[in-house]
C-alpha cells in the first residue's frame, strides 16, 4: 500500500494502518533507542512509549515537517535522550562507554538473522571510521551539523558532504 495513504489513515486513527507503519519502522526506532540507552529493557519500554506518543499526536504530523520516518525518529531520539538525562540512567552509568553503533552491530546477532540486514555489518565495517562516526552522530544520536563538526573537529560543510558520500556508499552496498 501507498505510504502516503497509510500515513493519512494513521492520522485518521486507523489502527490497522498504524500497525503496518509500526512493522515498517519498529526495528529502526528500537535500534536508535538502544544505541542511545544501551539497555534492552529500557529500549523496549521507550520504543513502546514512542509509538504511543506518535499515535496520540498523530494529527500534528504533516509532510511539510519532513518524512513520517524522520518525524517518529525525532520522537524516539528525544525520548531516549530524555532518559539519558534522568537520575535512573545516571545511576547505571557505569556501563556507559563511547560505543559506536558499529560496536553494537558487531555484537548484535540480529544482523545474521534478519534478512533485510544480511551483510549490513560487513558493509558498515567497510565504511571508513569517519563515515561510521558521522552516521552515528547524525542519525542515531541526533547531533546537529554544528555539534557533529565540533565533536569530530571538522568544518560544518565537510560534515554535510562527507555524510552524503557515506550514505551514497552505503546505498550502493545495499542496492537502494
Amino acid at each position: 500500500m501507498n505510504l502516503e495513504h497509510l500515513i493519512l489513515q494513521f492520522q485518521q486513527k486507523d489502527q490497522k494502518a498504524y500497525e503496518k507503519l509500526y512493522n515498517m519502522y519498529c526495528d529502526s526506532i528500537s535500534g536508535v533507542v538502544y544505541t542511545i540507552v544501551k539497555n534492552s529493557d529500557v529500549t523496549q519500554e521507550i520504543t513502546q512509549d514512542v509509538f504511543i506518543k506518535a499515535w496520540d499526536k498523530a494529527e500534528t504530523y504533516s509532510s511539510e515537517k519532513g518524512r513520517f520516518f524522520t518525524w517518529i525518529l525525532n520522537i524516539a531520539r528525544n525520548a531516549a535522550i530524555d532518559y539519558t538525562r534522568s537520575k535512573k540512567y545516571k545511576q547505571s552509568k557505569q556501563n556507559l562507554n563511547a560505543d559506536f553503533f558499529v560496536d553494537i552491530l558487531e555484537t548484535n546477532d540480529n544482523l545474521d538473522q534478519a534478512t533485510n540486514t544480511i551483510g549490513l555489518k560487513e558493509y558498515v565495517t567497510k565504511l571508513g571510521t569517519t563515515c561510521k562516526s558521522v552516521i552515528e552522530l547524525l542519525y542515531f544520536k541526533g547531533y546537529t551539523q554544528k555539534e557533529a563538526s565540533e565533536k569530530l573537529e571538522m568544518p560544518i560543510g565537510t560534515i554535510k558532504t562527507r555524510n552524503r558520500n557515506c550514505i551514497s556508499e552505503l546505498r550502493v552496498m545495499l542496492g537502494v
Binding site: 520504543t47 525518529l73 534478519a114 552524503r164
Partner: protein, 263 residues
C-alpha cells in the same frame, strides 16, 4: 533550479536525519512535489537509513503491536467517562420521560379498569333489576291466576284484639295442598319477632304450624307460599319469637279467619 546539484549538496541526507530547519523542510517538501527525481532520491536515502538504524535493534527484545494497541485502547476508554456523563443526561431525561409516560399509562389503565368495573357492576345491577322485575311480574301473574281460580278457597283473616286494624287473606289450593298468604295488612314485626301461620281445627281447638314468615321484611308484596296438608277449619297468624314456636301464643294472635264451608 539544478536538481542534481541540489541533491549533491547532501541536504536530502540531512532531511532524512531530521536536521534541517522548518523552512528547509518545507522547501524540500515543496520541491519533491514538482521534481519526482528528488522524491525518488529521498525515498532511496530513507530506505538505506531505515535498514541502517534497524541493524541496531536487539534480537532479545520482542516487539508486538498488540501491546501498543492495548495501551492505545485503554487510553481511549479512559477518555470515555467525560462523554459518558453527557450521555447520562440524555439517559436520565430518557428514563424520566419513560417513567412519566409509564406512570401516566398505568394511571390511565387503572382509571380504565375502574370504569370497566363500574360499568360491569352497573350492568350486573341492571341485570338483577330486570330479573327481579320479571320475577315479580311472574309472581304477580301467578297471584292473579290464583285469585281467579274457582277451586281455590279464599279465607279473609280479620284483625284481633291486639291489632284490630290488621288483616290478611289466605288462598288455599286443596289440590296442590298449598296456601298463599297475603300479609300486606300486617304491621312490620318488631325486632326479634316473627309471624307464624297456623292451621286450626275447632273441636277441639288444635293448632298446626304452617311455618313462619321469616322473609316478611324482604318480601315486597308480602305474599307467601306455604304447604298445607292438614284439614284446616280456620287459619290464624300470631307473633312469635324469631324461629317460631311449637304452640301459638294466643295473646299475640293478630288475625284469624274461619273457612267458609265449615261455618
Amino acid at each position: 533550479m539544478d536538481i542534481k546539484k541540489y541533491i549533491a549538496t547532501g541536504i536530502l541526507e540531512l532531511y532524512i536525519a531530521g536536521l534541517l530547519s522548518e523552512e528547509e523542510n518545507r522547501e524540500v517538501d515543496a520541491l519533491m512535489q514538482v521534481h519526482p527525481e528528488l522524491l525518488a532520491e529521498v525515498i532511496s536515502i530513507e530506505k538505506a537509513i531505515v535498514k541502517l538504524t534497524a541493524s541496531g535493534a536487539q534480537k532479545d527484545i520482542a516487539y508486538s503491536f498488540s501491546e501498543i494497541q492495548d495501551k492505545i485502547n485503554r487510553k481511549k476508554t479512559k477518555i470515555v467517562p467525560i462523554s459518558r456523563t453527557k450521555v447520562n443526561w440524555l439517559q436520565y431525561s430518557g428514563w424520566a420521560a419513560s417513567i412519566l409516560v409509564g406512570s401516566s399509562l398505568i394511571w390511565s389503565i387503572s382509571q380504565n379498569n375502574q370504569l370497566e368495573q363500574q360499568v360491569a357492576t352497573e350492568k350486573q345491577q341492571l341485570k338483577e333489576q330486570i330479573e327481579k322485575a320479571s320475577t315479580n311480574l311472574a309472581e304477580a301473574e301467578k297471584l292473579i291466576t290464583v285469585f281467579r281460580d274457582k277451586n281455590i278457597i279464599s279465607v279473609p283473616l280479620a284483625g284481633q284484639k291486639i291489632s284490630p286494624d290488621s288483616y290478611a287473606n289466605i288462598y288455599w289450593d286443596k289440590e296442590t295442598k298449598s296456601i298463599y298468604i297475603d300479609a300486606k295488612g300486617l304491621p312490620a314485626p318488631p325486632k326479634g319477632k316473627v309471624y307464624q301461620v297456623w292451621s286450626l281445627t275447632l273441636n277441639p281447638l288444635t293448632p298446626t304450624s304452617l311455618g313462619i314468615l321469616d322473609t316478611f321484611t324482604a318480601n315486597t308484596y308480602k305474599v307467601f307460599t306455604k304447604e298445607n296438608t292438614s284439614k284446616s277449619e280456620a287459619f290464624g297468624i300470631t307473633l312469635e319469637p324469631s324461629g317460631g314456636s311449637e304452640f301459638p301464643n294466643l295473646e299475640q294472635l293478630y288475625t284469624l279467619g274461619l273457612i267458609a264451608s265449615t261455618i
